[in-house]
Symmetry: D3
Subunit: 333 residues, 6 copies
């Protein structure tokens, strides 16, 4: 089986983080499947099905702990398999997959717009809003509110170790929003003057717990301590269907060199680095999750999961798209 | 009045942070007064007294928000004034001041040893201990426990923006202690596996609140959330007598360039940086404060203050050593 | 277009608070639409539709921050529009609207009966129950339990600034229930001897937060502090569908003269009065919401909203019945 | 009407606790109805229906405060009545009831297997897990995780007054799991070293509160205090549909002789014993409930109840299977 | 024994609340004793001693639940008895008592000045400060800060049932401070925008609990919930020495007519009124107590009590000045 | 050196728990020293001193984790050494020790009386009081309140594994107090109807933490959760001076056979028993500690320790009476 080179390029770009961000990764994966559907050379519908499944496997393996990536792949593959089982001929099968991929991509983009619209309603004139890391959904909420003429300030953490907060700050500031940048550990210091916190999400679990950039849960805790609202902006394809069946979301650990340079570690052999990319914010510290399906309390995550992924347990998906990922690194919650 | 050049060098070294750390600054200030007592050329005890007061003023002005610095100066000046008022001749006055300075320096050094001894009793075999920033007192507790043969692990934050945690990690690791370095915002992530937190203090207030490196209070909050003991190691000259009379401890704000480079800020005029050096940990998140006078609950700070600084309100100190510092920057709690 | 005078009388009575209470207002609005359907003189079904929409606009504008009022209007108008779009002739259209209005009124009345039945099961012999303000639903729960032979005591706050607690106390006492009246600020003092709190609601948000008479949230907080159950009795037409899309419920601010007389304010120009009519009780302080659809945890509000108002986002309602109300005064949560 | 002796034997065994455990009792009740369906001698379908209802009454009365027992009876009777109303002849009616009973029994057994599978995913290598009392579902989770090769330790309370913890400990230890037994009141002492708590349930209420063996709620509180995950393993037939309508779950009080022997009480007439069999763990101390339908947050209980028992309020069941049980003893929450 | 009429007038004015406020009552009592010392006609020092004790009895009985009143009487009587026992002649005894009374009055007045000075240091430019009821000490703190040029806003509750908040608001507003008046039950609503709460005290117990106007503890709870500082301004003669020996502070209950008029109660015989004048704020909700001896954490109250009232348990005071007051009404904590 | 046989009998009785309870053990130890002082045959004051020290060593070694025992020994030995160093001859030395022992015993007995008196003031008519285990001090508080005519109920836990609660219940019931006995794990179930908890203490640490019978901290936690007052009755000789210097109080672990019989453990080799005798209640769950020196908040423990044991750090005691005990078993807090 010879899958198109473009698929492997996309897979490689995801693996090496040239393509970054849960939404962009998910859309890239969907487009990869569309490319296979379009370009894979065969006249045999069985072979095309196998090619699609193989492509799915390749894509999913690039980031084994991601949530939005397999959700995108499931979205497309499931519709393809349904067409296949309904007896589609090869042209129909190609079409079904391409359309599904386009649907996913379209939905993903309009999801952010809706989240911006719903979330902007929670920003008030005069507010001081804190954010953490860089999230397209969270930033869209703030930009939308600013466009609507609301005037507020943003406190943006720098977000160690990769300083994504600097990107967030720059985008907001370039739109005219006054931004104050602080080190991550100053979040509690400034919390007493904050009116709301808005962050994104990498994954949402069945109990409403939110997986997001390391440090999010500490900010949520400080917000909770100070009775400050804590909002999560998350498209529904970030909700993890596996967690309905007990699977824990795996927390990726990243390269120590993001934290200190290798020389330091070589000089001090008794020092090791732990560099988890994400942490888990428990539902009791989250006021609402803003999705494109509407605003929900974290405990409503299960309802969203059942609506969006109800097919998950009983579907005809192959095991690698259904089973829980093998827990590679640290797991939490 | 021509004060010795060495005094001004010491003052300059404190101002420019060539001399750093609350303990070292305090001892340098005491030695500065001793130098004036020794070298100031006069035969007139009144003039010497004035010189000492002028030197005190110079030293105190170098770091107007410090707590240990004026405490050191008060310790020496108070004893000098007492000798003066008791009718000491000029030789006796020089001697009184030099002896007081030596006493302060000696006490300061033995204080750390005692804190190490008392604190080490709270470290247990198999513990996982978290620390933050670089504190001589906190590090001494850990080194002492290790010397006693206890075997434990330390989690050290990197401590943005100046990465003092790397110094802490290196010292502990070089002594053979296994150290794990983490970014500051990962403290809550690892807290569930931590047995105790040990940090130092820049100042302790009359109600037991502790001023320490930015981020300390967020770690204390996460420790409290997870029922993990939180220990502060603090010499009593870090206790702030002004707070007995309601004065707030001023939180120093430092150069934005510690957080992002100036280019970034010039490119984004809507972004400003807030860089408080310290935050305030409320007493309810602190289990004990380990002082050279023994282990106290945070609410015992007032008792220590009254014992050590009972003379404060009724003393013959000049105003600049008694009054509250003018609040220059952000104040908190 | 000449709408019937009776409609304007109803609208005026709502605006001036001659008609008060979320339930009564909602039923009055429904009956107003029925009157228009019955009496508006036209032979043209298009014109009747427009008249109904105009009447809806008139009614909704009387209390722009209410939740039950637009819900009642939506209930009737939606069914009217559905009939219109299904091709109803003018007689059928009149009938559809009248029947819908009757249905709403009937449902509203039986809702209170069911709430009374379900809620009474939570009252136990010997209980001491606290209530706040005057709520038909909450009072019905207590009266029902008393009718069933349970013997308990009620603590009723006076409910500043309008003293509605005196009405509640009188109704309960006249039914034979022993009532203790207290000032609002004594609620925490007595909470240690209370077994349950029962209050009504003006609105329920998608995350389970409850908007009710000012002071409710402080009582809920004190109940939570003392591990006392906190029950909210609320018909489902008080649930706010807009909040599913992020809209904040607007908190009405009322006349300062309810708090102090105007003379006092004129004498003291530096004094202003803030008089919010409601506050927001967060879901974590609420044990259950008793609805006519059954007892739910506050996080179940979203489920009720989706069942009862699932049509909201995709309906053919005109904008003024779909969009969020413009935030006029203070908003919260 | 002469019901078969075997039915009365089953009823007697349930009453005297020769048959124990919510699952076993429920399955025994279902099989009792199957026996009546099979053996009751009549040719009249009306009479058979009455016999089944009478048998249901007998079974339900054996443990008037149970939840799983009436749920089992409802499951079978409801299907029988549906067949009856659909015009089934006597053979079809017998068959319908027998099949329903078998279905219930089968579902109940596979439910435990699924719970084991889902729950085992939450146990991690190296964990220290606490459990309380003896629950088949909770034990199955631990055995399953052990079978999967995970290696962990269990802390098992002894569970006064009947020491069911000794059974749990023996089962787990016999499977090779290292078990530490502690007295119930030591649970908080050991909690600081525990990673997760897993318990079963006797009943689950509409707000997610869990009724389980006395002492469960204190362990949940201590887990919450120490930020330790608290898991409940519960088949959905333990969810109480009555609680959707406000009914309180009655807490059974048992024989004082379980606590002290009668001699002691006779010697000390001023001493009485209170011996509640269960307590109520509020939802805020529960992280997840593991059901055979998947993992839910406690606030998801209402969703499960509506799916599984949606028919409850509108069904054609006789009153004794619909109404709330009369509160006989202590009731709580 | 014929005590001077002026004494009885003072006693009567205290009893009927013509003299009000803990400070004014205490000073009036001290001056009453001075009048007896000056005017009681006798040449016999034993008789004078008895007259003073009788006067003390009269004064203390006027408000049996007060704390500052017996403290004032003890202050004067103790010094009188000491002089008596040291063998003072009648002139010396008269002088000792008069001087003690003057000392008490002087101390009481300067105490407020010092509290104002210390407390004002905690008010910052731009703050929004909430206060409750009318307290001379709390108001002095705010006026002092305003005099120092700080610019801030005050939120003042109206303070049912007697509306003392209107007095507070008027005093502050007349000094130029912008004041917002709210009903008591709106305190939590506005708390999210408040920076500090300052209240007075009627009594302070040995464990740091503060007795103050009904409603204070609910505001403290709401401040604690929102991480807002809560300050109590209290002269040390409001500290209750009896509480060191376990005695509870009695909470006075006042006339129902303060809450509703008598007609209402006569119309509704099932309604009674409970009107406690004070409540008890537990120490964990108080950040600092500002006394004339300095700022203390609530747990420092015991230290103050021992310093100021160390003589209490071992003194030669008559029983009515030493024993705990008989608990007349509701008691709490 | 031949110490009297009676000393060894006392030591043996303490070791084997024939003498039990912190107070009785302490008094027995003091009397043991008095016996040595009286009976040890020598004419040499140096030899007598050595004999006393040897006896002290014997006594202290019987229960190496106790706190009251070494405090009793210190009390007597310190006074003996002071006499010795002041040059006492052998008769004076014998007398000094005997008198000190008598003083300790006398103080210990009157301490309980005072605690009863102070504590009884906190019991109110109609209260429901919970207690745990058997504490002479706590029981005395309840008996004293009953003697004063107050009428209340007591809930007594059985106190596994040794059922000391049955002794408590019997003593109280025999005095006429109505007692309800419950299993330990039912404490939270009944807490919602409890007004106060009263327990004793085995040791009190410098930060106010209380070491008492296993299970105490869980009851304190449940009391805190339900806003129920928690009182500890403790003589000051139970305060641990070592904790001022950081030493942890060692928690004794006792025989597994107290929990299950040996057969069970032999049958199940994978089961071990952990049987800690005590746990540690943190100060934030304790309202007051009732000592014979008065009522203190837990944070006042340090003040008591400094007053009663201020000599501890600087005394001439031999090391085995000064140094921290070697941590043998589990240590906590």
């Amino acid at each position: 089986m010879k899958l198109p080179d473009e698929l492997f390029r996309i897979a490689e770009d995801i693996r090496t983080m040239r393509i970054r961000g849960a939404g962009r990764i998910a859309r890239a994966a969907a487009s990869g499947l569309a490319i296979v559907a379009e370009k894979y050379e065969t006249g045999d519908r069985d072979e095309l099905k196998e090619a699609i499944l193989e492509a799915a496997r390749v894509l999913v393996s690039t980031r084994p702990t991601a949530v939005s990536l397999p959700n995108a792949v499931r979205f497309v593959v499931l519709r393809g398999l349904n067409a296949y089982e309904a007896g589609a001929d090869i042209a129909e099968l190609r079409e079904a997959i391409k359309t599904s991929a386009e649907d996913f991509i379209h939905n993903s983009k309009t999801a952010v717009e809706r989240i911006a619209e719903y979330g902007a309603r929670r920003i008030r004139d005069g507010d001081r809003v804190m954010t953490h890391c860089h999230s397209t959904a969270a930033v869209s909420v703030l930009l939308k509110a600013w466009e609507q003429g609301k005037r507020f300030e943003v406190f943006s953490t720098e977000t160690r170790p990769r300083f994504q907060g600097r990107i967030t700050a720059a985008i907001l500031a370039d739109a005219g929003i006054p931004v104050t940048m602080i080190v991550d550990s100053a979040a509690r210091f400034f919390m007493e003057s904050i009116d709301a916190v808005v962050v994104g999400a990498d994954a949402v679990a069945a109990n409403g717990a939110v997986v997001n950039k390391i440090g999010t849960s500490a900010i949520a805790l400080a917000a909770h301590e100070a009775r400050v609202n804590f909002f999560v902006a998350a498209e529904t394809y970030k909700f993890s269907p596996e967690t309905m069946l007990g699977t824990l979301i795996t927390i990726e650990e990243r390269d120590p060199a993001e934290v200190v340079d290798r020389d330091y570690l070589e000089q001090h052999p008794n020092i090791r680095v732990r560099n988890p990319a994400f942490d888990v914010t428990p539902p009791e510290y989250i006021d609402i999750i803003i999705t494109e399906q509407g605003v929900i309390p974290p405990q409503g995550a299960l309802m969203i999961l059942r609506e969006e992924f109800g097919w998950f347990t009983r579907s005809n998906l192959p095991d690698f798209l259904r089973g829980p990922p093998s827990p590679a690194h640290v797991t939490s919650y």
